[in-house]
């Protein structure tokens, strides 16, 4: 198909030559395909755009925040982490940036995102007076823990995620144990989602950690509770709350840190990528579009790849802004 185009149309011949030039610069690119929906979608959009538009040879590598970052930091592989939640790895990332081994190309690939503590919408409606985290913490009896009815269940973050440490330290900072709470480790993303979905489906109360943009937040209309405490400063957060429990003796109550998501690439990729790195700088998904795509994914049980094609077909006006016009044409013809 491309070959005939090359023969018949001069314009396409030009595009193909530029493509060949990109290919020399671009070569093999590995992109981290993180194990949650928005990152899967983003990785697949990146893969299609780089492959079709910039003639890169893209390989998607499964990953998770901590593992992928460690691998990029130590081994320089994969080349690109499209959606890296850097709060979890900030100290190490700053060090790597100073050293020049990693670079953050995009400071906000999705708008309007955040982490925090959420409740089910039914609870928020029934108890409008409990509209902050601190007020709710006085009522563990509203969230009985199945294994010990006298305690309230607070669903933290799965073991091994960066947010697990934060939740454990905030649990201590707000004296939640004395207030009658249990920090439940859901064990895995499936466990956390399952507990939330089960409670929301049955109309039970649920209080725990989650983040947006995610389809489950949109689907069940979960409500994020604000903290009364102010953000108690980077020193408290980076040097205590975000560290392992034994490295944080005295965590201070604090609001959740403003979330920061970056697209992070290795120095090797910076050196070889050429125009592809401009694409990463321009690529910003509006939050509501991302939420819409996530609901599409869960409603249709679409894979990241399915959703990426759906996005490229439905939201041309967005992604065509990210790439030069002739690259956009190449991608459109490949869809």
């Amino acid at each position: 198909m491309k070959f005939t185009n090359l023969l018949t149309a001069g314009g396409f011949a030009l595009a193909a030559t530029t493509g060949a030039a990109f290919a020399q610069e671009c070569g093999d690119v590995s992109i981290a395909n993180m194990n949650w929906a928005s990152a899967e979608l983003m990785a697949n959009v990146d893969a299609i755009i780089l492959e079709e538009g910039f003639d890169c040879n893209v390989e998607l590598v499964p990953g998770a925040t901590e593992t992928t970052f460690a691998s990029m930091n130590e081994k320089g592989q994969p080349d690109v982490a499209p959606e890296l939640w850097i709060n979890a790895v900030r100290t190490a990332l700053e060090a790597a940036k100073a050293e020049g081994t990693l670079a953050a190309l995009n400071g906000g690939p999705i708008t309007g995102l955040g982490e925090g503590w959420w409740v089910t919408p039914k609870f928020a409606e029934e108890h409008p007076e409990l509209d902050t985290v601190e007020k709710l913490l006085a009522h563990p009896e509203m969230f009985p823990y199945a294994e010990d009815e006298s305690k309230g269940a607070f669903y933290g973050c799965p073991a091994g995620w960066g947010c697990q440490l934060v939740n454990a330290n905030l649990f201590r900072a707000f004296d939640m144990e004395e207030k009658g709470w249990v920090l439940v480790d859901p064990g895995s993303a499936a466990g956390l989602d399952g507990s939330l979905a089960k409670a929301a489906e049955r109309g039970d109360n649920w209080f725990g950690y989650y983040w947006s943009p995610t389809s489950i937040i949109g689907k069940y209309g979960m409500v994020m509770l604000p903290f009364e405490a102010e953000y108690a400063g980077d020193d408290n957060w980076n040097n205590c709350v975000a560290l392992a429990e034994q490295d944080c003796d005295d965590p201070q109550p604090t609001a959740w840190i403003a979330s920061e998501v970056n697209t992070v690439v290795t120095d090797e990729f910076m050196a070889k990528s050429g125009p592809a790195s401009d694409y990463f700088k321009a690529r910003v998904f509006p939050g509501e579009v991302m939420n819409g795509m996530l609901v599409y994914m869960s409603d249709n049980q679409a894979t990241g790849e399915d959703a990426a094609y759906e996005f490229l077909i439905q939201h041309e006006e967005i992604w065509t802004q990210w790439v030069p016009a002739e690259v956009a044409d190449k991608i459109k013809s490949a869809l």
């Binding site: 998770a64 901590e66 593992t67 460690a70 199945a146 294994e147 010990d148 799965p158 073991a159 091994g160 995620w161 697990q164 439940v184 480790d185 859901p186 064990g187 895995s188 499936a190 466990g191 399952g194 507990s195 979905a197 089960k198 409670a199 489906e201 049955r202 409603d299 249709n300 049980q301 679409a302």
Partner: protein, 295 residues
């Protein structure tokens, strides 16, 4: 010739409608019966919590003493008993005592549930060929289906925690016990059975007086396999919120904490070896007894 290379599959849209309607059916079922199911399993949950609390609250020398006594009663071997004591001392010294107790609790209760459910099913299978024909493929599915697949419905029905974890463990660990009970009873000599019949034994007497005693070594091999497989599910169970040695392993996996992972992994192995040696030597002693009985 396209049809030769393109498989005539259900269209994308139909396929997704099919999947969605299955999900919707399940969701309706979970909404309608989830609470009842939870209430049904509530006594089991209470028992699990109670048992874990006892193990954690008990003074450690007492726990080690009980473990050593059980090891001695089971195996009558000094080597195994001393090994068990040393393993538990090491586990405690390396700070894994509470997690080990939690794991011990869920494994013991799982094994108990498997025995209570599995042995009758095995006997039933041995009595009726048709039951065997139906149950065998079910056991095949239970053993081979990836555990993550049934974790989803279990979590939707029962949430996360001990009971769903126990169910996940039992789905995987039950089949060998059922199979070996069935096999053990079927392997009982026809002549022995004829002799029992000649003496006028009733069906019940034949089962409890002849078949089960003679099948005991096989049944014990089954219990041994069940314990081993239950221990291998510890990490998976932790993925749906079961406390124990699996949690630090999960944390170690995602954070590259080499030492933490290895230590907790080895604690699981130590539990497995103790259980295995004790139940195996116990089974062997039963066998020896049977042989002299025949002798």
């Amino acid at each position: 010739m396209d049809w030769l290379f393109e498989f005539p599959s259900l269209g994308r849209k139909d396929l997704s409608t099919l999947r969605q309607s299955i999900d919707e059916t399940f969701r309706t079922f979970s909404r309608a019966y989830g609470d009842d199911l939870e209430a049904f399993f509530n006594p089991l949950l209470k028992f699990l919590v109670w048992f874990e609390k006892i193990l954690i609250a008990a003074p450690w020398p007492l726990v080690i003493f009980v473990v050593a006594a059980l090891a001695w009663v089971g195996s009558r071997s000094w080597k195994i008993t001393v090994g068990a004591i040393l393993a538990f001392l090491a586990i405690g010294y390396l700070g894994m005592w509470e997690d080990t107790m939690a794991t011990l609790a869920i494994i013991s209760v799982s094994t108990l549930v498997c025995v209570v459910v599995g042995i009758p099913i095995g006997i039933f299978m041995a009595r009726y060929n048709r039951a065997q024909a139906i149950i065998t493929p079910v056991l095949d599915v239970m053993q081979t289906i990836p555990s993550f697949v049934y974790l989803i419905p279990v979590v939707m029905l029962l949430g996360i925690g001990k009971v769903p974890g126990l169910l996940a463990v039992c789905i995987y660990a039950l089949p060998p016990l059922v199979r070996l009970t069935n096999l053990g009873i079927r392997l009982v000599d026809r002549e022995v059975m004829e002799a029992a019949e000649a003496f006028g034994a009733s069906g019940r007497e034949k089962l409890f007086g002849v078949q089960i005693p003679l099948a005991l070594p096989n049944i014990f091999a089954g219990i041994n396999q069940t314990i081993m497989m239950a221990l291998s599910m510890v990490v998976i169970a932790s993925m749906i919120g079961v406390k124990g040695l699996g949690v630090p392993v999960l944390r170690a996996i995602s954070n590259q904490y080499l030492a933490l992972g290895v230590m907790n992994g080895l604690a699981i192995v130590a539990l497995a070896i103790i259980f295995d040696r004790v139940s195996q030597t116990f089974g062997k002693r039963l066998q020896a007894y049977r042989e002299t009985g025949h002798g």
